[in-house]
């Protein structure tokens, strides 16, 4: 698997991890604000679930750009390792949760034998990441102590967040990035160029 990746693919996954490390920090703040807003209405724990998808976005962006087996899993793991290197206060357990989330995202692409990177597969990948990551957090964060209706609500919201933030937003950001031309050396960039040429021959 690693043999089929070029060095620049790996460094790309790593810099994605670094950049999103910064963005995640920002989202921690957003999460806190959401929790504070929702608490008086009795929906505090849902605050983080609303934006949970952001934590899977690296998988989807990297897989959509590089389009090779194992990229979704590795990108999320590398992102987690990079965050630990940068001094994330979540520590090495973050690597473990990164692996779990990455595995979840990878499943969607594996089911299409890594051939299909259409929007619905990307959205599905966000959902599968959410689906797999929830039991892990259920265990580690002691969701067991919550009332069941709350757990179900959290689960559904996490799935939606995975679909919208990781899947849809991830695709949108990667598309915009491809338009700048910096991804021309990757499958996504080649697709953009091909589409562009096609549309210009039509005129």
């Amino acid at each position: 698997m690693i043999k089929s990746w070029r060095l620049k693919d790996i460094v790309l996954m790593s810099v994605l991890g670094v950049v999103f490390g910064f963005i995640y920090l920002g989202f921690f703040g957003v999460g806190k604000v959401l929790v504070a807003i929702l608490t008086p209405f009795g929906f505090g724990p849902i605050g983080y679930e609303l934006i949970y998808g952001i934590w899977f976005i690296v998988s989807i962006i990297a897989a959509y750009i590089i389009r090779k087996p194992g990229v979704a899993f590795t990108a999320e793991t590398i992102a987690a390792i990079t965050e630990v290197l940068v001094g994330s206060t979540s520590g090495p357990t973050l690597i473990l949760s990164g692996m779990v989330q990455g595995l979840g995202a990878e499943i969607a692409f594996a089911l299409t034998k890594w051939k299909n990177y259409q929007p619905r597969i990307l959205v599905f990948s966000g959902v599968s990441a959410a689906f797999i990551s929830f039991p892990y957090h259920f265990f580690v964060s002691g969701f067991h102590a919550y009332e069941s209706w709350l757990i179900m609500t959290m689960f559904v919201i996490r799935l939606l967040s995975g679909a919208i933030i990781a899947g849809y937003l991830g695709k949108m950001l990667a598309d915009q990035l491809a338009k700048t031309g910096v991804l021309n050396g990757y499958p996504i960039g080649k697709e953009v160029i091909a589409r562009h040429e096609k549309s210009s021959t039509n005129f």
């Binding site: 690693i2 460094v11 290197l85 520590g91 009332e147």
Partner: protein, 261 residues
């Protein structure tokens, strides 16, 4: 000293109790672990206490916030015992208070262990150790390190982006759509630059004869010493003691099941 431990072994020693602690829903078990973690932090590592508090205090507020949430939404399995107080429409029972304090202490253990690792580990050595001890492929190891090296550059770029946006008259974002748009405006230039750099550094590394092959010598040799095993064993022993003490005291609670001696 914790600084000189092998980073991979240290990571395992930190992850293990974090997982094994997840079974307990009582106060005594995480409390004993937390005391041990504090002892490690203050007496066996040379970290700057001020800096440690700077990170620990805000994060522990977060842990307390979560505990408060748990208290309000405790499942019937745990919400036992007499009602201690009422808050709006919520009746808080003794059982809810115990389980929320347990979860809060568990978070504090996570935070303590994570900070212990983060403050006593050299990132480069951690990666080298993953390569030498866990056989992580050199291609991944050095690829990750190459990305990590850009951290100070990105901090600088982020600062410049903020300034440049101000000059363009881009005010504070209001509303969801604008926030997303705002994120895009940071994300695109930051990542466009990062991707170009990633490509350049990969080329530069390969032009220095790097092929990603495992057949290479090491300048910094990372070893696992007896103290590394000792560290992990003591950690596990303390964990067992913690569970045992709680068991003897009759407080042990595994996933809602009280386990009495």
């Amino acid at each position: 000293m914790i600084h000189s431990l092998n980073p991979t072994m240290k990571a395992i020693t930190v992850i293990l109790p974090a997982i094994l602690l997840s079974f307990s829903f009582d106060i005594i078990t995480p409390a004993i672990m937390f005391i041990y973690i504090l002892i490690l932090t203050f007496f066996f590592s040379k970290l700057n206490i001020k800096k440690w508090l700077f990170y620990f205090i805000p994060m522990s507020f977060f842990a307390l916030g979560l505990a408060w949430m748990t208290m309000l939404y405790t499942d019937d399995k745990y919400a036992t015992g007499p009602i201690v107080f009422s808050f709006f429409s919520f009746d808080i029972r003794m059982g809810s208070i115990i389980v929320s304090m347990s979860l809060a202490l568990r978070s504090l253990c996570f935070i303590g262990l994570s900070l212990l690792f983060a403050f006593t580990t050299d990132p480069t050595k951690f990666m080298l150790s993953l390569m030498q001890q866990v056989r992580l492929s050199p291609k991944l190891t050095y690829g990750i390190l190459a990305g990590y090296r850009f951290v100070p550059t990105f901090k600088h770029e982020l600062d410049l982006l903020k300034k440049a946006h101000r000059i363009r008259g881009l005010g504070r974002a209001k509303g969801w759509r604008n926030r997303v748009e705002h994120m895009r405006q940071y994300f695109i230039p930051l990542l466009a630059g990062a991707i170009r750099k990633a490509e350049r550094v990969a080329i530069a590394m390969e032009s220095k004869g790097f092929t990603g092959s495992k057949d290479r010598t090491y300048y910094t040799v990372m070893k696992i010493k007896a103290t590394d095993y000792l560290f992990i064993i003591i950690m596990l022993i303390i964990l067992i003691i913690a569970y045992y003490v709680s068991y003897r005291l009759g407080t042990l609670n595994i996933f809602g099941h009280r386990i009495m001696p």
